[in-house]
Amino acid sequence: MAQLSMNLLTISFFFYLFATIFYAVALTGKKWRNRNREVTGNKWGNVGYIASIGGLLFSLGYFVTRWIEIGFAPVSNMFEYLTFFSITISLAFVLLYGMYRMNALGLFTMPVVMLMIGYASIFVTEYQPLQPALQSYWLEIHVLTTGLGQGILAVSFGAGLVQLLRMIDLKSKRMTKQTFGIEFVMYMIISLVAFILVTNSFNAFNYEATFSYVNEFDEQAEVQYKLPPIFGPNEGELLTPERMEPWIYMPVWVVSDDFNTVVWAFGTGLLLYVGIRLVTRRRIGALFQPLLKNVNPETMDEISYRAIAIGFPIFTLGGLVFAMIWAQVAWTRFWGWDPKEVWALITFLFYAAYLHFRLNRSWQGERSGWLAVIGFAIIMFNLIFVNLVIAGLHSYA
């Protein structure tokens, strides 16, 4: 069953990949117009939609089989949460595409779904048992609701990005705040892709380099690198034979293996980014623009807003209300300023600010698009940094 479950997830990944391709084809192909004479799609759009529904069903298959086998909702570690997040994004997409039928949304949301599955794959994928604090039906209630909310909010990012790519001039040579912003977002996405590729490649060869070093308590300790050590630990000494020597050894207050990983991610991301730009001689964002010529930015603005209007209450219910109830039961207090809690509050405040900004018409349109992108950046920051670096009660094994 474990094998079956993982296979279903892999199959869904390919469905999402095909969906992306079909949406891209749909955007280059002949256009259909609806009664309001708005461009909606053509038959490739429908094929893409079927593929994304297929992907959703297969990934739900993964989720249900895993749940049945382990006996609790598979959302208790990073791998499980990220795959669940990918499911909620595609679910939210299927709903919103059903409402608005915009192929461009698929072209950008499906890759986000794939990115989450890819990112999940670098964590421990095997089944892990539940620690006592998680043994509660609130695990299901709280995490499933929060994940659903975040998934819907992620679609607002997809729509916001399409809207920005449609509205901003990326061809002109001059660098503006907007072109820089778009390229920065592209660079971040490429870095995440690079990070997933690099980590998975070294994992495939079981790469490991162990150091003995002096930790912050002045004690001798060992640390294991999963990526070649460019930056070694404080007073480190390489124990594994035939591994490269670090270029520099870090001072004691730097968590050197995390730092090393971060440099690998952004470094290879930079190589990839520059490579693509040299080959295509264009801004990365500009590569997408020919596909988006017929997209109505107003509609994208509305989809992005709609996703937030739908996702924000669900996120609040799961990430704050249910979270507080569970914290009262499990941790004796409903609120304790744990970093993960604070970041849920920050997400909440940010989207609250978004909704109030939009009360003013001049903030609808492009500015809203930027806000949707930043909102998603906050969610990802929470998922990557707060979970893995700023350890608190929540941090997963």
Binding site: N36, Y127, P129, Q135, L349, F350, H356, N360, R361
Partner: protein, 543 residues
């Protein structure tokens, strides 16, 4: 200030921009720009009066710009608080003034000197939240009442300028106005619009109640914030910890001696390493072990009788306290939060007579409740001269104890040497055993540790939080308001007959595409031409 009488007869308060009844624009009435429809152009105190200090404060807090500013500042402050751990998360007993520098370098020093190590409890963070609350209250009052009145007094027939200056507007030539109206009405009814008619004109309206969503959710937030501040009212809140050894009974702190809790047994279980389901996952993780259960089998007592005379404990209830399954009683809850396994609880000593090399007896000391003296089988008595449960040599070089927890017990025993008739002393602890004599004469009796017994200790947290009902009510109101405002939108469509033309105008507070879909269906059914979205024609006005 004088009221404004509109040509339709409606008397509007001073400051009104759009007549509440017929919608005639009362300011800039010759403009062709789209009307600003937020709050229906009703007179809001903050926009109308700007004289006194109170007006200015009111204007300040009712501004959405200020509200957003407060939200963003709170957001950024909250972020800063997560850069380094807050004081409450640093290891207990550490001095924050050195901890932050040592652990995080110069940045840590800076963090500490700004007071960010205790950010969420700082006066300025609280002030920020209070300002946010004030802003929510004032902004809501400023808008709710004018909006409510305007929507209540709106009339079906609207001024032509009102219609022309709606975002969605169009006119159509029709054959028979009545028939068109009739068809439109049918379609609108099907789409669950409420229809009002007046002089052959129509107003179709839907989900007005969604407009109150923001006000309801703001009320919820305020109730929640008030609830949270009740924490500071004495008696509302108790938080304390207690350690209870197996077999012992302790008073529950914070209950003024009203309750006692006994720990019958503490259990900790871990997952089996060879569990076929989880084996691989546990190996892949760097955790040493995976705990599966912490439980304290607890009994709750209430004292009865008079303290010091004949007080006895009477059982009230019992419960297996687990993480996620606290023990509730009265207003209190006891939670499983910590434990200590195998704490020393008893030590057994053998005593030997060095003259005869014979064992003269043995005795067991309960480390948490030592007796003053112990009788040996040969009739002699061992007295405990000193007991150091957690032995250290203090700063003055004198043996002493760090606390009352028997982590490192040590004793000075005293016995009478029958030969000399004098007291002799022996110091004994873990890996320590020597005579304490003024001269170099060895003691007659020697002690040896022959056995230890251990015990588990459970760490429980006691909570009482009477603010929770307010938080639940506030949270529920907030969620209801949030759903109300987010999942429904207030839509209005005006159909007006002008000779053999039909004018259509429409407004919604959100989701214009969905409104357009409604209208396009009505237009098709009633054979009207599709009205235009006038924002496509006009630049966005900055309001």
């Amino acid at each position: 200030m004088e009221e404004i009488k509109c040509e339709c007869g409606q008397v509007n308060p001073y400051g009104t921009e759009v007549c509440g009844a017929c919608g005639k624009p009362l300011v800039n009435d010759d403009s062709t720009k789209l009307l600003n429809m937020r709050y229906e152009g009703a007179a809001r105190r903050s926009q109308t009066y700007n004289r006194s200090i109170i007006d200015k404060v009111w204007g300040f807090f009712s501004s959405v710009k200020v509200g957003i500013g407060l939200i963003i500042v709170t957001l950024i402050a909250s972020m800063i608080g997560t850069i380094f751990p807050q004081e409450l998360f640093i290891p207990p007993g550490e001095d924050p003034s050195v901890h932050y520098v040592e652990e995080y370098g110069p940045l840590g020093q800076l963090y500490y000197s700004f007071g960010f190590h205790n950010l969420y409890g700082s006066w300025w963070y609280m002030l920020l939240i209070a300002a946010l609350g004030t802003s929510i209250i004032i902004a809501s009052i400023d808008r709710f009442f004018p909006l409510y009145r305007a929507l209540k007094s709106q009339r079906v027939t609207r001024h032509p300028n009102f219609l022309r200056r709606q975002r969605i507007f169009g006119t159509s030539q029709v054959e028979t106005v009545e028939e068109t109206m009739e068809n439109a009405k049918k379609e609108l009814k099907k789409r669950r619009y409420k229809i009002r008619e007046e002089d052959g004109n129509l107003l179709a309206e839907k989900n007005r109640w969604a407009r109150w969503g923001p006000y309801v959710n703001h009320i919820g937030l305020i109730v929640f914030l008030i609830g949270a501040s009740l924490r500071f009212v004495p008696g509302m809140y108790v938080h304390d910890n207690v350690w209870v050894r197996e077999g012992e009974t302790e008073v529950v702190p914070g209950t003024s001696g009203e309750f006692y809790v006994e720990n019958l047994a503490f259990t900790m279980e871990i997952y089996d390493e060879d569990d076929p389901l989880f084996q691989d996952g546990m190996e892949a993780s760097n955790a040493v072990m995976f705990e599966s259960l912490f439980r304290t089998d607890a009994v709750l007592y209430r004292p009865e009788g008079i303290l010091g005379l004949d007080q006895s404990l009477v059982e009230v209830d019992r419960h297996g306290i687990e993480v996620n399954d606290p023990f509730h009683f009265d207003d209190f809850s006891l939670y499983q939060v910590d434990y200590k396994l195998h704490e020393l609880s008893e030590m057994t000593f053998d005593v030997e007579d060095r003259l005869t090399n014979e064992e003269v007896g043995s005795f067991a000391v309960d480390l948490n409740n030592p007796e003053d003296d112990y009788s040996l089988s040969n009739g002699e008595t061992v007295r405990i001269h000193s007991y150091f449960p957690n032995y250290i040599i203090n700063d003055e070089g004198i043996p002493s104890t760090e606390n009352a927890v028997p982590d490192n017990p040590a004793f000075i025993f005293e016995m009478v040497n029958d030969d000399t008739g004098e007291d002799e002393h022996t110091f004994i602890g873990i890996q320590r055993n020597f005579d304490v004599t003024p001269n170099d004469e060895p003691n007659r009796y020697s002690y040896s540790l022959s056995g230890v017994d251990t015990n588990h200790v459970t760490g429980l947290t006691v909570r009482k939080d009477n603010t929770i009902p307010y938080l639940i009510i506030g949270g529920a109101i907030f969620m209801i308001g949030l759903a109300q405002g987010s999942y429904w939108s207030h839509r209005r469509i005006w159909l007006q007959a002008k000779n053999n033309e039909v004018w259509v105008a429409a407004h919604t507070n959100k989701n214009w595409q969905s409104l357009k879909k409604d209208i396009s269906n009505v237009a098709r059914y009633a054979k009207l031409s599709m009205p235009k979205d006038q924002t496509d024609l006009e630049d966005h006005d900055k309001s």
